[in-house]
Symmetry: C2
């Protein structure tokens, strides 16, 4: 494969992705294709003979672009941000070009050590408790996992192993499988689907805890559930608290939950996948009060910290538990540095995660943190929050709508006052236009829409444009249901548009 | 972040990675740094203010390169190849620049559909059984997982769920945890560490099966173990057979193993992580005879098919079992296409894997398969095999050495005739030189060295150079042990250097 041909076309690819990103506003955020569109367009077998570089970029525009949802478009306001930035792409290019697979320290010391160092950088930027740092004297440290889902599963499996090791010596006659079958995990009904999935995959019983009206975990119910399960012969093992829930960006009270976990000897994992990024700004750190209780924590720079997927940071207070749960050895995996010689700076990360192989993902995080610097990371978060405030003010000023949760950070949850079908129809109308992407969610049976500030390039004019689309679509829904809407208007007069002011103070 | 600055420096990064790859022979394959080298060189906190683009590439050379192990160097002959190629890097650049996170079909139909189509392409290139194809009428299909380890864990968890669903209705009074505690997984002592790790993480009892002298799974022992376990009230659940073991590239007999699994109703997973790539050449397909019995299969284009990490392909015969094991739903995850409307071309891949988020990894596989074409993929595999043959002939012609396994595909296993410490010292001498990377492994207590053909750029002169390093290092070991070596020479006279001819015929 010719280097000069690659040089020419890779540089064209750079131009292409810059053009794509700089002009992304001009593309319809959602595609119009139907399921199965692509196999009608491209051959059903790989080519027998090599194809030429020059056909690839035109094919991206012909076949791939019509089927893309533009996550980095300022009109993408669903889910949470898919982080990206030029520095991060730059890091991804270098990582692909260097091509190392650093599962052991010796299989590229730089790959492992940069990850350790940059996780310390990020922990300090976020003001995390010192015991998560590699540079601290204790056994804590951080690693980049592929996704929040993997981080949560890793935490669950670690908690499971720790509990089994605690219980077994006390009951030497009980079979390990029997102990495992009694383990219980606790989390709020508002925790991310990844928590339930981790328990499903890890074969741990679940006990979802009802959330408070504001979407936070009810600590007293957690306490009662743990006590009750113990009385019934079960073994409480794992609690997940969320900082910034997916549906409404609610923050569980770590001080309450953490003290329960500590008293009960239960592993506390904190999922801050989205909201963790905000802690680079000191003014949001009150939201993580109690984090010192956490045994493990995940946050995703690939959500809201300008790093492209995948880059999910995971910290653990005591790596020994992780190593107990994940270490499998073979002759061919060993090198000649003992665990003691490695100290905190040179772990074998294969024993901290599910996969064996691993990319040099620390590069893109390192480069992103350097090229933004603390100051611009803070500016970025603050600007995004200000845009959510702008959208919130639009909702508050329009009596057709109500907020469904306190607005915290970059997410606004709202609905049309009145019956649920109106809000569902609003979403359909908006999505059918393909011009704006929102998604729906539920809290305590109440259906609402999520407007999340996602694109790094969003500005206030994009908020205003989105608001206009939503406002017009609402008009369309109302005119479809002219009779019904008269009733809605009557309802609105009585509506309390601020029913959910309780919750997080700001 | 300025697009023009990125354009300029990203193009410099392209030049940098081309220069790196084209001149990789000039770099010492193994680094000379000691654990902890990097934190002495770079700051312990992120910068407060943004840094400039122009400092990044010099820092790569100053801080990162000294700590890299050059997986793509022609002098890297340990483990298995870390696949890479310019077309694959090109795909990675586009994927990072487009930045979609396609966990649902609607969150970039192209991301999902291209993956389905390209997995069909690859299945056809490899001559896989038709029931793994999406285009076939059945419920089979493929997905890209992040690693072979994840694929094996996904298969195990799927088998576990299938077995529990089979058993529960027959024994409605037995608790699910009790059923799970009785499940057993079987695999050869030569299977990859990832198999044992999957069972550790998936909490399934393991029963490793002794391998034959040639490193393949003893099918009669598998049968006996299953029968014995059933008699003892356990529940056989999962068998892993390996095509191309890590230590010696041995091939388990799928026809024998598969018929046992079929008769016993046990899930058969086939791990062809490395060797699967060889099946693009029809002349190697005899090695996968019996693959029609497999319920699932993984092979890694990021090993030996020129795609950079991560790209691990996974096929399943019946996706329904996968969906049963992995599906967790939430309002915010749904779109308006039912499972039936999706048919085979538009799955929601979040329900086929551990993570929720996913990169557009199909792009690099698509582009790599197109730009090489079937013909050059075959040429590549054949050229690599011919280099292993060259190294094999060097070993066979030198009475100081013996082969430790039949040479199949791109791996040669050898040792110094005589006591084990000689071979261990040889490895130390070679690694201390930093000029060549090999690794050690064990089969039935016999320690040997693995010489794997890895770099896409290797040619016969690299084999000859590696051989010279090994030969000289052996001389150095012998001269250290002058007295002992006289005994070795006497031994050699009687040695049968071909003790392991039994096994795979070629």
């Amino acid at each position: 494969m010719d280097a000069e041909e690659f040089r020419k076309h890779a540089k064209m690819a750079i131009d292409y992705i810059i053009d794509y990103n700089e002009n992304i506003r001009n593309r319809q955020v959602l595609p119009s294709v139907e399921p199965g569109y692509l196999h009608k367009l491209i051959p059903s077998t790989a080519p027998a003979a090599p194809e030429d570089w020059s056909v690839i970029i035109p094919d991206i525009e012909r076949f791939i672009q019509p089927g893309l949802t533009h996550w980095n478009s300022p009109n993408f306001n669903g889910f949470f941000p898919a982080g990206n930035s030029y520095p991060s792409i730059f890091g991804e290019i270098l990582s692909a070009g260097l091509g190392c697979v650093g599962f052991n320290w010796m299989l590229s010391p730089a790959c492992t050590e940069l990850e350790v160092i940059v996780l310390d950088w990020l922990a300090k930027l976020m003001g995390l408790p010192e015991h998560f740092l590699a540079e601290a004297p204790g056994p804590g440290g951080g690693i980049i996992q592929g996704s929040g889902s993997e981080g949560i599963l890793v935490a669950l499996l670690t908690a499971k192993e720790r509990t089994v090791r605690q219980i077994k010596p006390l009951h030497p006659n009980i079979d390990e499988g029997t102990v495992k079958a009694k383990l219980v995990a606790y989390f709020s009904d508002q925790s991310n689907s990844a928590v339930e999935k981790a328990c499903l995959l890890g074969s741990v019983r679940i006990r979802p805890i009802k959330s408070n009206p504001n979407g936070t975990l009810k600590a007293c119910q957690l306490k009662n559930a743990i006590v009750e399960d113990r009385e019934n012969g079960l073994i409480p093992c794992f609690v997940v608290a969320t900082l910034g829930t997916t549906a409404t960006c609610a923050f569980d009270d770590l001080t309450q939950i953490g003290s329960i976990c500590e008293a009960e000897g239960v592993w506390l994992h904190v999922d801050a996948a989205y909201a963790g990024a905000a802690f680079v700004c000191p003014e949001y750190r009150y939201l993580m009060a109690g984090l010192e209780y956490a045994d493990s924590l995940n946050m995703n720079p690939h959500k809201w910290l300008l790093v492209n997927f995948d880059c999910s940071c995971f910290w653990v207070k005591d790596r020994a538990h992780l190593l107990n749960a994940f270490t499998v050895d073979r002759d061919y995996l060993r090198d000649h540095y003992s665990e003691i010689m490695r100290q905190n700076w040179a772990p074998n990360f294969r024993n901290w995660e599910i996969p064996l192989g691993r990319r040099f993902r620390a590069l893109k995080l390192w480069i992103t943190l350097r090229m933004f610097g603390e100051s611009n990371l803070r500016n970025f978060i603050r600007k995004q929050v200000s845009m959510a405030k702008r959208f919130e003010s639009k909702i508050q000023a329009d009596s057709r709508f109500e907020l469904c949760a306190p607005v915290c950070l970059g997410l606004v949850c709202f609905r049309i006052v009145g019956e649920e079908f109106l809000t569902r129809e609003l979403l359909s109308v908006v999505l059918d236009s393909r011009e704006l992407f929102l998604n729906g969610a539920t809290l305590h049976g109440k259906y609402f829409l999520r407007y999340a500030i996602c694109s790094r390039d969003m500005d206030l004019s994009d908020v205003d444009k989105g608001w206009t689309i939503i406002s017009n679509a609402t008009e369309a829904v109302f005119s479809r249901h002219a009779n019904k809407s008269q009733q809605v208007i009557a309802d609105m007069t009585n509506a309390n548009v601020n029913t959910l002011k309780a919750g997080i103070s700001r």
